[in-house]
């Protein structure tokens, strides 16, 4: 066999150099193709940044207004939590809180008492969720309700009053200063009614709070339900540096000898929402991938044209001994470089746009009005730049562009040298 030891290939650096210079042969065509890719990448990057921002804000919203980082329940409560039962309550709250606060990674704790209630404005009667919160001392250390008061003022300890979700108030046609009647059933089954003034309205962006809930001081809730000194849950906020899983495990260890208690992290509490997020991520990922694929298909045409124009050159290279695989590598490289060029351009503009909106925010009401977009977020969202996603999608564009170049590259590599050299 002849010439077995001769590689017949170019060095990778030479292929890169040659590929890059070949892109500059027909600059206008290269720029048009790269710009198409850049636009697709720009759109995808901005969309991804928005989705990451919305997701992050959703998680923050859940933690700040609904779930905290974790909650401690009496055994049996969590499985029946949708019914807001009063049969599984926590007592000895001070001792329990002292224990939990001693756990590394825990920043604050607060008891809450959730219950089902009916609220009447004198004309209509609606079923909704009442939440007793510890006004003095701890609730605002765990939750961010005071920042969500959009009208009136926050609750005051020892004073009668309730905070109502903005959506619920709109449904009732009531406002700050109006009185409503709260009707509940005690644990023993007796009805209890109390007239309370609306001291303020809360708008959190979380439909569960805004459209279905009202908040009252813990002692009023305990009084109405006949559960003095009790709570249905102990909400826990972690310190910023704490790792969720480790801290939950620590808390579980700390309370296991005290009594039968369940510790639940916020992701576990919002299992359905997290599953929905995963499904949305997959769907959006597929959609965005298809978008990039459509954009890089233009590269197929560009490389096809380039290989056609350079048929004689291909013949000459093959005559000198470059194997078909070398020709294929060269055109794949040109395709990938076009994709990477477009991807880099698109990414740079996307970062600039995202950085701008990450500062000033994007007003969702201007885009969607009051429509529920499926995420618990407030009116203004802030896109987030994720460098790992940015780099990954840029590289993905390069890979897809190389794949899009495969057909013309393979076609060029199959030339018969003598025929290619005759090409006019």
């Amino acid at each position: 066999m002849l010439a077995e030891s001769i590689p017949g290939r170019l060095r990778p650096l030479t292929i890169l150099q040659l590929g890059w210079r070949n892109l500059r042969r027909n600059r206008r065509r290269t720029w048009i193709t790269a710009t198409t890719v850049a636009l697709a990448v720009l759109l995808v990057q901005v969309a991804v940044s928005l989705l990451i921002g919305i997701e992050q804000q959703s998680f923050d919203n859940l933690i700040n207004y609904q779930t905290a980082h974790a909650k401690l329940y009496a055994e049996g409560y969590f499985a029946n939590r949708d019914e807001l039962p009063l049969d599984y309550t926590l007592t000895g709250l001070d001792e329990l809180q002292a224990t939990i606060r001693g756990v590394r990674g825990v920043a604050a704790t607060t008891p809450r008492l959730s219950f089902s209630a009916q609220v009447s404005n004198g004309v209509d009667l609606y079923a909704c969720i009442g939440v007793g919160i510890q006004v003095t001392g701890s609730d605002h250390d765990v939750f961010r309700i005071p920042q969500a008061v959009v009208d009136g003022e926050y609750l005051k300890s020892g004073e009668d009053g309730l905070l109502m979700g903005t959506g619920l108030a709109e449904l009732f046609g009531v406002d700050t200063g109006d009185w409503v009647t709260v009707l509940t059933k005690t644990q023993a089954g007796a009805y209890e009614a109390l007239d309370l003034p609306i001291v303020g309205l809360v708008g959190t962006g979380n439909p569960l709070i805004d459209r279905n809930s009202f908040l009252v001081p813990l002692e009023i809730a305990q009084y109405m339900l006949g559960l003095e000194g009790a709570a249905t849950e102990l909400a826990i906020r972690f310190s910023p540096t704490a790792r969720d899983d480790e801290t939950i495990a620590e808390i579980t260890r700390a309370v296991q000898d005290l009594r039968q208690l369940d510790v639940k992290g916020w992701r576990e509490m919002e299992e359905d929402f997290m599953a929905l997020v995963r499904v949305k991520r997959t769907g959006q990922g597929v959609f965005l991938l298809i978008f990039i694929v459509l954009a890089v298909v233009g590269i197929t045409n560009t490389i096809l044209m380039a290989s056609f124009e350079r048929t004689r050159e291909i013949g000459m290279m093959m005559a000198m001994g470059l194997r078909g695989s070398g020709i294929r590598e060269l055109f794949l490289t040109e395709g990938a470089l076009t994709g990477l060029l477009g991807g880099a351009l698109g990414s740079l503009v996307a970062v600039a746009i995202t950085a701008y909106f990450a500062t000033v925010g994007l007003d969702l009401t201007a885009m969607y009005g009051d429509m529920d977009i499926g995420y618990p977020v407030k009116d203004t969202i802030y896109p987030a730049v994720n460098i790992a996603v940015l780099v990954a999608s840029w590289l993905l564009t390069g890979v897809l562009a190389a794949l899009a170049s495969f057909y013309p590259a393979a076609r060029a590599s199959r030339h018969i040298p003598v025929e290619a050299l005759r090409h006019v």
């Binding site: 030891s5 170019l10 070949n22 001994g321 470059l322 194997r323 003598v418």
Partner: protein, 235 residues
């Protein structure tokens, strides 16, 4: 010593449904160091003979032997390796890579030979470029050179890897007579200095005069095969 041999070679092309015989039973022995011209009118089979000797094409029948090997039954990949090892080409239209500099164009076949040492490659490239008189133009692109200079680069590119055989298909056809004379003188000088075997096709009598051997073709057959005054004496 024979460097290449054609033994009763036939080559027939199909043009649509018509069989067109381009070479009809050519037998040639090419001695080492020859400076051989293949002449003949258009359609006489000059380019086909060069393509067969250059392993760019395979015969319909007969044998093409280069050195110790033949091109019979070799795959495209093996033929590529064969050309890479044994052959250098000079084309009528120069066929330089326009995006590479003179230095890089001449370096190209050395990379294909797998010579990884850049310093070694650079020394060989500079030496051959000095020999062809382009030592001062190494960083220019082909478009910045005259036709004669481009063909000098092509000659340097063909010779830099020290091939057994350099095949030149009408190397002076795109040049004026003065430049054509310069290119022929250059190839003749390289033939005499390095002993490299040159085979070139032409229909220019001034070029034929420089050959050490002149083979005339007519209708795909050897019409005459005679010695010439130019070039190095074959061994």
């Amino acid at each position: 010593m024979t460097v290449a041999r054609l033994i009763d070679v036939h080559k027939t092309y199909m043009v649509g449904r018509v069989r067109v015989p381009a070479v009809r039973g050519v037998t040639l022995d090419i001695e080492h160091g020859a400076f051989m011209s293949i002449a003949g009118p258009s359609g006489s089979g000059k380019t086909t003979i060069l393509n067969l000797l250059g392993a760019l094409d395979t015969p319909t029948s007969g044998t093409v032997q280069i050195g110790d090997g033949t091109t019979d039954g070799l795959s495209l990949k093996t033929l590529a390796d064969f050309r890479n090892t044994h052959l250098g080409f000079v084309f009528q239209t120069f066929n330089l890579i326009p995006v590479l500099t003179v230095r890089e164009n001449v370096d190209f076949p050395l990379q294909l030979q797998g010579i990884g040492n850049k310093r070694e490659r650079n020394e060989r490239v500079m030496k051959i470029l000095q020999e062809v008189g382009l030592g001062d133009l190494v960083d220019r692109r082909p478009t910045e050179l005259s036709g004669g200079q481009q063909q000098r680069v092509a000659v340097a590119r063909a010779l830099v890897k020290g091939p057994r055989l350099v095949l030149a298909d009408e190397p002076t056809a795109n040049l004026d007579s003065e430049t054509a004379g310069e290119i022929m003188a250059l190839m003749q000088m390289m033939n005499e200095k390095h002993g490299t075997t040159f085979i070139f096709s032409t229909h220019d009598p001034l070029v034929m005069e420089r050959a050490s051997r002149l083979v005339r073709l007519h209708d795909g057959r050897v019409a005459s095969d005679e010695g010439g005054n130019g070039g190095r004496h074959a061994s």
